[in-house]
């Protein structure tokens, strides 16, 4: 009897799994001020900017990379995609950079604050979900990411 119940449950799970909603990914856009001469940034360039290996942009304006708080799911996804590591795995790296007088990217409280900073700060670079983009910034990279809970744009 128990075996049969298990088999039914397994079939039910399979059915739900197959007929449930298909998991779509989150599309993240990397943004700079609308007036920036930058048109496109590669993953490699983003990694160098966010690790603060390059401090100066091509037009001589210093880069001003922005991050969301370390626990924000979008920050985690961005960090894994661009830097290949989780934010907490970067602690040692940032300790070392601090010893060289370099601070990690500035942390803003929210996606809205991120866009506001980017709009008004020359050299700023930030990221938001594509669906929450609200203008006056320029998109320089699109990063497809795995689905992030609570970030669906409906």
């Amino acid at each position: 009897m128990k075996q049969r119940v298990k088999a039914y449950l397994l079939l039910l799970c399979l059915f739900l799994g197959l007929t449930g909603p298909v998991a779509h990914g989150t599309e993240l856009v990397v943004i700079v001020p609308a007036s920036s001469p930058i048109e496109h940034l590669t993953l490699k360039q983003l990694a160098r900017i966010y690790r603060r290996k390059i401090l100066l942009g091509p037009s001589g304006t210093p880069w001003f990379p922005l991050n969301l708080p370390a626990t924000h799911p979008l920050r985690t996804a961005f960090s894994k995609k661009v830097l290949g590591r989780l934010p907490e795995e970067m602690e040692t790296y940032w300790n070392t950079q601090y010893f060289k007088g370099i601070l990690p990217p500035y942390v803003v409280a929210s996606e809205e604050a991120m866009q506001q900073y980017v709009r008004s700060t020359p050299g700023a670079v930030g990221y938001v979900p594509a669906c929450r983009l609200n203008g006056q910034v320029k998109v320089v990279a699109i990063l497809p990411l795995p689905k992030i809970p609570n970030l669906d744009c409906q």
Partner: protein, 345 residues
């Protein structure tokens, strides 16, 4: 008139904020006190050690009290200094004294960013040989003691100029630095172990985000003793980490032009996570040769083993405890216990 303009530029650089959303002065533990509008960053670290070594009196010591100052007056310019009070006080046989206290300018340099990838440095900087020397600060390393090969076979500072850049090789970063020392002319506060002149090359390659390899070459002559000939040093090093595991090592070979009194050294270190932010550390060291830059007569082979525990309750803070033992190590790194607490502030 030109000096008036220079003063105006200086005051403008300090007091006129950068355009953009205003940031206020802020302090973060382990990341210093930042004054974004003035482009200043003030920080530092301390290291307090306890030593119980064979044939030496037991002592506790505030080893380092270091202050970092960074000022970016212009997007292309960055001034960095590390000023240090060393051996601030020592507790020995129940008494406290400050007999060994001294002030040192650990680093003082100006970076000029020629373009996004090329940087010119002028001043006093840490000699880029191997990996340990350029990140030697106590809160950044896993053990209280320092590997012999990173300390005894070249001068730890160079004063002169360095040009650095990053190339893309197989879609990975290859960092290159070329430097020349002129300590004799430029260094206002020489340490006893100083280059008379030197030139070197450093390559760092990022094989993957978790694995870096490096190569160093240095040609130098020491200030003292003056009889020591021109010397070549070759080094290779690596650093690998996965999750919270870490393996790193450095190898160096130093050869005077006379062919006598060469020196070979290496260390291999492993870091293993135990429980919440507690790590076990093991290190083996080998040093064969004269051991000291300032002597040319001694010649022996030293083996060292270190077993250590490090606890990092937070990123800027570390407590360390280690036991060191070895063979032929009495003169350079005697057996015994070492403990320390170090913190970035």
């Amino acid at each position: 008139m030109p000096s008036y303009r220079l003063l105006c530029w200086f005051l403008w650089a300090i007091f006129i904020p950068e355009p953009g959303v205003a940031q206020s002065a802020n302090y973060h533990w382990g990341r210093g006190w930042s004054l974004p509008q003035q482009q200043f960053l003030i920080g530092g670290y301390f290291n307090f050690t306890y030593e119980q070594l064979k044939d030496s009196p037991t002592q506790a010591n505030l080893d380092d009290l270091s202050l970092f100052l960074t000022w970016t007056p212009h997007p292309r310019l960055r001034l960095f200094s590390e000023l240090e009070l060393e051996d601030v006080f020592t507790i020995e046989q129940g008494s406290i004294h400050t007999k060994q206290l001294f002030f040192s300018v650990e680093r003082l340099y100006l970076d000029y960013f020629i373009n996004p990838t090329w940087r010119l440095r002028l001043g006093k900087f840490l000699t880029p040989v191997g990996r340990w020397n350029v990140i030697h600060a106590a809160p950044l390393v896993w053990t209280t003691s320092r590997p012999l090969v990173t300390e005894h076979i070249f001068a730890l500072h160079a004063t002169g100029t360095m040009i650095s850049t990053t190339f893309n090789l197989a879609d990975r970063d290859l960092d290159l630095s070329v430097y020349f020392d002129a300590s004799e002319v430029l260094d206002p506060k020489k340490t006893p172990v100083t280059f008379k002149n030197a030139g070197g090359l450093r390559l760092d390659y990022e094989v993957s985000p978790n694995w870096q390899v490096g190569m160093s070459y240095l040609h130098f002559k020491m200030e003292r003793p003056s009889f020591q000939p021109d010397t070549d040093l070759f080094g290779i090093d690596f650093h690998w980490e996965w999750r919270r595991f870490e393996v790193s090592g450095e190898f160096a070979y130093r050869r005077p032009n006379t062919g006598n009194n060469s020196e070979t050294g290496l260390y291999l270190q492993g870091v293993f996570p135990l429980v919440h932010r507690l790590y076990a550390v093991g290190r083996y060291e080998y040093l064969q040769g004269t051991h000291f830059l300032t002597s040319g007569t001694r010649n022996s082979t030293t083996h060292l083993q270190i077993a250590a525990i490090a606890w990092r309750p937070a990123a800027p803070l570390v407590f360390k405890l280690e036991y060191r033992f070895g063979q032929n190590n009495r003169g350079v790194a005697p057996d015994g216990f070492l403990a320390s607490v170090a913190m970035l502030f």
